[in-house]
Amino acid sequence: MTDATTVRTYRDYGQPLWRRILLTRETGIIAALAAVFAVSAASVPNFASELTLQYLLLDTAAILLIALPMTMVIVTGEIDLSVASVVGLSSVLVGVLYQGGVPMALAALIAVAAGAVAGAFNGFLVTVVGLPSLAVTIGTLALYRGLAVGLLGTTAVTDFPDGWRDAATGTIPGTPIPWVIVVFGVLAVAFGLLLHFTPFGRGVFAIGLSDSAAAFSGIRVGRTKLILFVLTGTVSAFAGIYFTLRYGSARGDNATGLELAVIAAVLLGGVSIFGGRGALHGVIAGVLLIGTLSSALRLANVTSDVINIITGTLLIASVVSPSVTAWVRNRWARRGRSAAVSQP
């Protein structure tokens, strides 16, 4: 207000368009994915085939699916560690019900509903009781897995109807794209719109950056989080049915440890674990990057331990690299000055 008579004008953006697009984490991950694909196709025997793509998509479908709602949960600053247990629980439910004579469609429906209930229970404890989600879902991780193992005991249910199994593993005729990826695509568009182009999504980001400021802006923080936990449970249960049909086996220990794979991929995709930052396309690229890398490394006869080392290192490198580049840039800019900037 140096001069009351000047009418201020505002630029929409402080940075030119190319910088805003090219210098993002998401672009980096997508570029890395493209690079891994190109290098693998050129140097790994048998990689450049449709079959690779088909297997890659089938293998990563469950993670891709769960990553969608998980991204939103993490953007609100929460976390859901129970997803893999919900996968196991829904797998067992489908198995037990189908074995008990319930028609497959109904069994699947009930399992998905159970997933929604499991998610709602997480959400209830987090939003209504007010407990930290990390602690809650460590508990339900054990609880849901325990229910799954308890329900089915030593047995596994196997003979699912062929039609259903084919739907889970089949591809669009003439392409290597599995049907489940079509479902994923539809969901991805829906979740992408929800997160990035709706008032609800704006609320999700605001909550992640500041719960209280969001609440003071009339955003229903509790309800938003509850909805997201229910969505996560539902989608995880759906992924559980896919998992069961893909491998034709309903077992209590299905997908053990998948939660860490999902979270690793989401974080690799540029979502901040503190909430408030991230984009869905980055996450999808993150999942595919890990999947492609392991598929290429397997084809190159690299053993699973090395694949784990690479996955872990990649995750660390991806989150550390921005700090390192910033640090290097600062050093560069301040050469000759004794003190470095300590501003976070």
Binding site: L260, V306, V319
Partner: protein, 343 residues
């Protein structure tokens, strides 16, 4: 000063506050209850020599890791790599015995702890210097350390016969009816509790977890302290690895996998706030005892093997919900006291 006349009630408030600080008592009571009920069902659980020994012995290793974990969580961080660190150092321990049989075994302890500390240092350096959330970093090192372990170990397995008897005896021997392993764990717990409670450095860890930005503004050496917290967690996981080798006698590439969730679970059950700043290593230790003892009590109580995980999950939830209810009660009581002071 008119608005400041609630002096008397404030003293009461603070007394209530210190009651909250002994929240660990509640968990301890739960532990005693579990032991009592199980012993009532089967006296051997406590009153047979083996039963008594196992009661003390089984949770000791988890307790060490949980204490380290609590130190890290108090600084508003988390160390998910503890299971992998434990596994690596357990294998290293075995490897040393195989490759350098002449090395005196007490030296192996030092090597194991130092090795764990180094792995913790890697975590801490990445978290503190690169300013990246610890959950992400240690999730990464969880994979990476485990990968290194599998890659190094391969199908190898260290057997009891590869290790000296004196060392193995540590895993099972007792002094005055208390297992050596438990004594070591209690010693570590005592040191940690003493440091966290009475030393400036310990209080600074609480301050950092309570508000990291304020700590930085205040001039606390946040980077160094966080680094130290991770080193401690790593060192304790390393020590736990050495003790694992002594107790279980066989070490393969999968030792300690999944331990991270148990360690975090124990700390949380023990009342360590997941967002830092409050809780105690003592609570985490009791949490570890409660968790492991429940695991052992369930079969005795006749709970089918398959349902045990479910029961453990329900108990974790029960613990944190109860904790929450107690806190809410206390807030209510504060409010009622303030109301009373108004009139």
């Amino acid at each position: 000063m008119s608005a400041r006349t609630w002096n008397a009630s404030q003293t009461m408030l603070s007394r209530l506050g210190s009651f909250a600080r002994i929240r660990e008592v509640g968990i301890l009571a739960a532990f005693v209850l579990v032991v009592a009920v199980t012993t009532a069902k089967n006296p051997n659980f406590l009153f047979s020599p083996d039963g008594f020994r196992d009661l003390l012995l089984t949770p000791s290793i988890l307790m060490l890791v949980a204490v380290g974990q609590a130190v890290v969580i108090i600084t508003r961080n988390v160390d998910l790599s503890v299971g992998s660190v434990l596994g690596l150092s357990a294998y290293l321990t075995g490897r040393i015995f195989v490759d350098f049989p002449s090395l005196p075994w007490p030296l192996v302890f030092v090597i194991g702890i130092a090795f764990g500390a180094c792995l913790g240092l890697v975590n801490g350096a990445l978290v503190a210097f690169a300013k990246v959330p610890s959950l992400v970093i240690t999730l990464g090192t969880l994979y990476a350390y485990r990968g290194i372990n599998v890659w190094w170990t391969g199908s190898d397995r260290i057997n009891a016969s590869d290790m000296p008897d004196g060392f193995l005896a540590l895993g099972t021997d007792s002094v005055a009816n208390i297992p050596v392993l438990t004594l070591i764990a209690l010693l570590v717990l005592g040191c940690a509790a003493w440091y966290m409670h009475t030393q400036r450095g310990g209080r600074e860890l609480y301050a950092i977890g309570s508000d990291p930005d304020a700590a930085r503004l205040y001039g606390l050496r946040v980077t160094r302290r966080v680094l130290v917290a991770f080193v401690v967690s790593g060192a304790l996981a390393g020590l736990a690895g050495v003790l694992y080798a002594a107790r279980y006698g066989t070490v393969n590439s999968q030792v300690g996998s999944g331990f991270e969730l148990e360690a975090v679970g124990a700390a949380v059950i023990g009342g360590v706030a997941i967002f830092g700043g409050s809780g105690s290593v003592f609570g985490a230790a009791i949490g570890a005892y409660l968790l492991m003892t429940i695991n052992r009590a369930l079969p005795v109580l006749g709970v089918d093997d398959f349902w045990q995980r479910a029961v453990v999950g329900a108990l974790i939830l029960g613990a944190i919900v109860l904790d929450r209810i107690a806190a809410a009660r206390q807030v209510k009581r504060f409010a009622r006291m303030r109301e009373a002071s108004h009139d």
